[in-house]
């Protein structure tokens, strides 16, 4: 088991580094030039300023030297300075990450808590109204464009009905709590500030529903399909022949098997939520990594892009590892010697 873990971790670190290399090459071998996006037209016509800019950001060095600098910096816990914000990339990421973690975790929990039971019930009551409802929800969830859903939600619940607060993490009139974890829902109660907590919670409702929609659809669909698959297996017929009650056939025999594909999907979906908040954050003015990613990409802010790639790849590799480990825990057939 330890050996397995060690070899998996080695591969994981290699994968992360390889990912940064790929992004590095893509970012540097394509014709885009940060000089233009950063300096503006006038300065870009001044050769001295361009040379100074290039030197300042190490853009005049050969490709491999630049990657080497990135790597050595990385081992010292330094991701370089963002061209856009002029601050260390690590600081930027530390500042924006908590808002994203908060939003995507709430969205993921929402998708899981609603989607899993919905999928199970849909499979148990196949071809009844509840099954049709579950399938319709999941269909709309996976088919509706996130940005459009966000618009509709804002237009209806904020614009027309005024049930929900508008974009942003908290209201303009509310002071943010002192930063401890950076996550409002944790920092506010720690500071004893329950008004802020409720304000932050209210602001989370619409974005988390919007973000959860497609994951919810996927989880419902996968759970339903996995349950139906499990229910068609021989051991279910055996369980019926044993005289078990329906409930224990469904929940005791079918569900543990149906959970296996859902775990894989769930892990991947959480990783996607953590890294795929770009659209939702930009509409809800959410101060998270998604918006930072978008801005960095548009500005060709290489150090920031490299830093984000590193984080994203690390999240994926880590989540994959966790999925494999929980798989080993859930399925005795893959548990190691």
């Amino acid at each position: 088991m330890l050996r397995y873990l060690a070899s998996r971790l080695c591969i994981a670190v290699l994968m992360v580094l390889l990912a940064t290399l790929v992004i590095f090459l893509i970012a540097n071998m394509v014709p885009g030039d940060p000089v233009l996006t950063q300096l503006g037209d006038i300065a870009a016509n001044n050769p001295d300023m361009v040379a100074a800019f290039r030197h300042r950001w190490g853009l005049d060095l050969p490709l491999w030297d630049r990657y080497w600098i990135f790597l050595t910096g990385l081992f010292h816990g330094d991701l370089g300075i963002s061209i856009g914000s002029q601050r260390p990339v690590l600081e930027d990421i530390a500042q924006y990450a908590p808002a994203t973690v908060e939003l995507s975790t709430i969205a993921f929990l929402l998708a899981l808590i609603v989607g899993l039971p919905l999928g199970v019930v849909a499979a148990m009551k196949r071809d009844t109204w509840i099954d049709h409802l579950a399938r319709s929800i999941s269909l709309v969830g996976v088919s509706a464009p996130t940005f459009w859903l966000a618009f509709v939600m804002l237009a209806v619940f904020y614009g027309a009905l005024e049930w929900a607060p508008g974009p942003g993490q908290i209201s303009a009139s509310t002071f943010p709590p002192p930063t401890i974890t950076g996550i409002m829902l944790i920092d506010a109660p720690l500071a004893g500030d329950w008004d802020t907590f409720w304000d932050a919670a209210a602001h989370l409702v619409l974005p988390s529903i919007v973000l959860a929609a497609s994951t919810l659809g996927l989880i419902t669909r996968t759970t339903r399909a996995a349950m139906l698959e499990a229910l068609s297996q021989d051991y279910i017929r055996v369980a019926r022949a044993k005289g078990l009650v329906r409930r224990s056939i469904m929940l005791g025999h079918a569900l543990p098997n149906a959970l296996l594909p859902v775990v894989t999907l769930g892990g991947l979906a959480y990783a996607q939520l953590l890294t795929g908040t770009v659209l939702t954050e930009s509409i809800f003015s959410w101060p998270g990594l998604g918006r930072y990613t978008f801005q960095s990409a548009v500005r060709l802010d290489f150090p920031a892009i490299m830093g984000i790639t590193l984080v994203v790849a690390a999240i994926y590799v880590l989540v994959n590892l966790l999925v494999d480990l929980s798989y080993a825990a859930l399925d005795p057939r893959v548990s190691r010697r």
Partner: protein, 293 residues
């Protein structure tokens, strides 16, 4: 009447044409509906220049932000352009991008996955690691980086999407080929003396096409969604080209002029649902398990 006679009578009724039609509808009705929706959009896309009531990008500041009416069925946008016209034109971009990305991605991914799975060994291992690597980047981030680096435009966005699109097909093709590889008809072909390329392309791949077609169909909707998302962020089409994602973006602040953003969004929704219905239908049709019922 005995039980047997009752059952036979019931079976005769059940096998009547009306009952057969009902059964067909229950099973493939949604797929047919999806097919009709997609056919309508495809026709709209092809015939847009002839059936659209207005030119798609002539600015008319006087007639801006008009609500839906007899003249402008879906209203007009900020620049006074007819929303209905632009939704029709938008179908051209969305469907074309969807088909190009998915078909090219599927072709490339399938070939790579199938060949790697058939060769096995290092080729298979290298391919799997490469797909892992691409899976490490969420499509939207990589596409954003590439679009930003290559410059904004439909062609570059398509290239960016292709980079992240092939791995899922490579993986599916690989697992399908692995599943078929151990089938005895493959050993039989080998025993006859057929070479590897004949066995892979003429014998194995025809048997793996079904699930690939399902994935292609379901994925068309997905590609349209991602492209619309990129356009929404300003990384897709260049204005003033009509495209559904960028149209929603143009109307995102206009909560009171809801028609500007709502209709292009509904267009996306209907196309994606259409592809989902068709894909599910094909899957059911291919699955003997579901077919029996």
């Amino acid at each position: 009447m005995s039980g047997v006679e009752t059952a036979l009578l019931a079976a005769t009724v059940e096998s009547g044409t009306g009952a057969r039609r009902r059964r067909w509808l229950r099973r493939y009705g949604l797929a047919a509906l999806g097919g009709v929706v997609i056919a309508i959009w495809a026709i709209a896309a092809i015939l847009a220049p002839w059936i659209a009531p207005y030119p798609p990008d002539v600015v008319n500041v006087a007639g801006r932000l008009l609500p839906p009416s007899d003249l402008h069925w879906l209203g007009t946008d900020v620049l006074g352009r007819d929303v209905f016209t632009r939704v029709l034109y938008g179908a051209r971009t969305s469907l074309a991008v969807g088909f190009i990305v998915v078909l090219l991605g599927a072709l490339f991914g399938t070939l790579l996955g199938a060949i790697a799975a058939y060769i096995r060994g290092w080729a298979e291992e290298a391919l799997m690691r490469a797909t892992d690597l691409v899976f490490c980047f969420p499509p939207i981030i990589l596409a954003m980086a590439i679009a930003a680096a290559l410059g904004i435009g439909t062609r570059n966005t398509v290239i960016a999407m292709l980079v992240v699109w092939w791995p899922k097909f490579a993986r599916l093709a690989r697992s399908l080929v692995i599943g078929q590889r151990s089938a005895e008809y493959v050993a039989a072909a080998q025993a006859i003396g057929f070479g590897p390329s004949h066995i892979l392309f003429r014998q194995i791949i025809p048997n793996a096409v079904g699930p690939l077609v399902v994935l292609v169909t379901l994925d068309l909707g997905n590609a349209i969604l991602v492209f619309a998302g990129l356009s929404f962020l300003g990384l897709g089409v260049v204005p003033p080209t009509a495209e559904w994602g960028s149209m929603v973006s143009e109307g995102r602040e206009l909560v009171n002029q809801w028609w500007v953003a709502t209709f292009p969004g509904l267009a996306i929704l209907s196309v994606v649902i259409g592809f989902n219905f068709v894909g599910d239908g094909i899957r059911d049709w291919l699955d003997p398990h579901a077919r029996r019922r």
